[in-house]
């Protein structure tokens, strides 16, 4: 890899960690660590979006400085869920002690002269600096870039992705898989790469203890695996094959090009993956390899043109149609197929 200095300069210019250290010096860097740690602890116990009227986490540059009103109370770090209201300000004190008060302080800009301030609202997540608001980039579909959840088990990570990222196409990468994002009845031409990219990016940030999440680019009948994962501590591997169901358009968007339906597509995918495991699976007893078949389900009823007009009932016709079992699921090296139902957006 040859380093591109221009790309690196852009990263440096945009990085919130760099901006905070430039503003406040080394003391600001120390306070930033405390703020980030506290934000993560809070979001482990309560999702960011439950702070419907905002959350503020503050660490004063002088650790002895106090900035909360007299009504503030000492908060046990693991009592966040029960003690914090839906609008709250938390000050981080030395030795991981926390002080909290109801409501978000309204003089954050002036306070930022002497404190590192994190603020979350439904509209944005940012650090408040004396001369600017530094929005934290959030390429994920989570409400908070800092509070994104992590998982040890791939099955749980996939379940979360299916429910939180794929179901309502919350993932910004996955949004490109639709030909018609307004209604979500038809997939774009060859959406597999988009689905693979979305799931890969999610797993890289969500799956703990992985050594590598590798996205294959040359997927074929004989090389069906889309994503290969290796885990650090166990050394085990997971192989994910992605299939989609529904209809996609031609490259010029003028006609419906491809239709894939269950059970045929699912059975084919299962057989391909099982054949691959038989041929390439690692026979070392110390390295366990498990295959996972993942189905992005965009099936709709009555879609016959690229500008379909169908009823809500037709759009949602497959919502509850779970996949049939596949024979390969009885294998120890083949996990139960996972279905991500992609909801339509038809009113």
């Amino acid at each position: 890899m040859i380093f591109n200095a221009d790309v690196m300069r852009k990263i440096i210019a945009d990085l919130f960690t760099a901006k905070i250290v430039r503003e406040y010096g080394q003391a600001g860097g120390r306070r930033l660590r405390e703020v980030l740690e506290t934000v993560r602890v809070i979001y482990q116990q309560r999702p960011a979006e439950t702070f419907t009227s905002g959350l503020c986490v503050i660490a004063t540059i002088d650790p002895e400085d106090r900035c909360l009103p007299e009504s503030s109370f000492e908060l046990e770090p693991f009592a966040v869920a029960s003690k914090l209201p839906n609008a709250a300000t938390v000050q981080v004190l030395p030795n991981r002690r926390l002080l909290a008060s109801a409501g978000v302080l309204d003089h954050l800009t002036s306070l930022s002269q002497r404190a590192v301030i994190y603020r979350f609202t439904a509209a944005e997540e940012c650090f408040v600096l004396p001369n600017a608001t530094e929005v934290i980039p959030n390429p994920t579909g989570y409400p908070s870039a800092i509070g994104s959840p992590t998982f040890f088990l791939l099955e749980k990570a996939l379940a979360y992705y299916g429910h939180q990222q794929a179901r309502r196409t919350t993932c910004k990468l996955l949004a490109d898989c639709w030909h018609d994002d307004s209604n979500r009845l038809l997939l774009t031409n060859k959406p597999e790469a988009i689905m693979r990219g979305s799931l890969t990016q999610y797993l890289r940030t969500a799956l703990r203890d992985h050594a590598e999440v590798f996205e294959e680019s040359n997927v074929s009948e004989t090389e069906p695996v889309d994503i290969k994962i290796s885990f650090m501590t166990s050394g085990h591997r997971s192989l994910i094959e992605i299939k989609w169901l529904g209809r996609s358009v031609s490259a010029d968007g003028a006609a419906i090009a491809t239709s894939y339906w269950a059970p045929a597509r699912v059975l084919k995918g299962a057989k391909q993956l099982a054949d691959y495991l038989d041929k390439h699976g690692d026979r070392s007893p110390s390295v366990r390899t498990v295959g996972h078949l993942v189905i992005f389900d965009a099936r709709r009823e009555g879609v016959t043109t690229v500008s379909p007009t169908i009823s809500r009932k037709q759009a949602w016709a497959y919502h509850d149609r779970e996949l049939d079992d596949v024979a390969q699921a009885s294998r120890e090296d083949f996990a139960k197929p996972v279905r991500f139902y992609l909801e339509p957006s038809v009113p």
Binding site: M1, I11, I12
Partner: protein, 200 residues
């Protein structure tokens, strides 16, 4: 176990354990390795770190000394096991506080702190993922065999990247905090690595 690897293990577990509910053995290895890399960035030799790393078959960094230290720290009650996580105990924190006062550990604290701070600024899984593009690890993955990391060739490749990083950062006051170069480097590896990974 070496005192360095024991110290590093306790430091990492204390630094990220609070926000991450603990760390796996693999994550301790990764962050200790990243600390070692930060010391190379600041001009130390890999040998000065005190113990060496190899690449596992899965492409992750591994130091036998860290593995042994974690086992002994668990046996000694300094670290508790809540599978798959390791968590520092109060006894471990006391030991860490004492060990931090010893001069040999003073300098390595800076590098470990940069590594664990990166794991606060980025999702923890992203740190290991980005690090898989460190030239030594990438070389090891390509050859698909266990390989010593930070040998002469590995350090040479790494220094090319670090020279560019240092030149690009220049006299930026943000570099007062070693967390910043660490996060910039990892962010760069992750962004460029995605392109190279798909096309590989």
């Amino acid at each position: 176990m070496s005192s360095e690897s024991a110290y590093d293990s306790l430091f990492v577990l204390d630094a990220i354990g609070f926000s991450a509910n603990g760390a796996t053995a693999g994550e301790v290895q990764v962050l200790s390795y990243l600390g070692c890399l930060m010391s190379v960035y600041e001009g130390q030799t890999a040998e000065q770190w005190g113990y060496s790393f190899t690449a596992t078959r899965a492409g992750a960094p591994y130091a036998q000394e860290i593995g042994m230290s974690l086992d002994q720290l668990v046996r000694g009650g300094f670290v508790a096991v809540d599978e798959p996580l390791l968590q520092i105990t109060e006894r471990g924190r006391k030991e860490l506080r004492f060990a931090s006062t010893l001069p040999p550990n003073g300098r390595r604290r800076r590098f470990l702190d940069a590594a664990t701070a990166a794991a606060l600024a980025m999702p923890l899984p992203s740190v290991a993922d980005a690090l898989s593009f460190e030239p030594g690890l990438r070389r090891a993955l390509r050859f698909v065999r266990t390989k010593a990391l930070l040998d002469e060739t590995g350090v040479g490749l790494l220094e090319q990247q670090f020279d560019t990083l240092s030149e690009t950062l220049g006299n930026d006051p943000a570099t007062d905090d070693l967390m910043v170069p660490a996060v910039v480097w990892l962010t760069y590896l992750a962004s460029e690595g995605n392109v190279n990974r798909v096309d590989a």
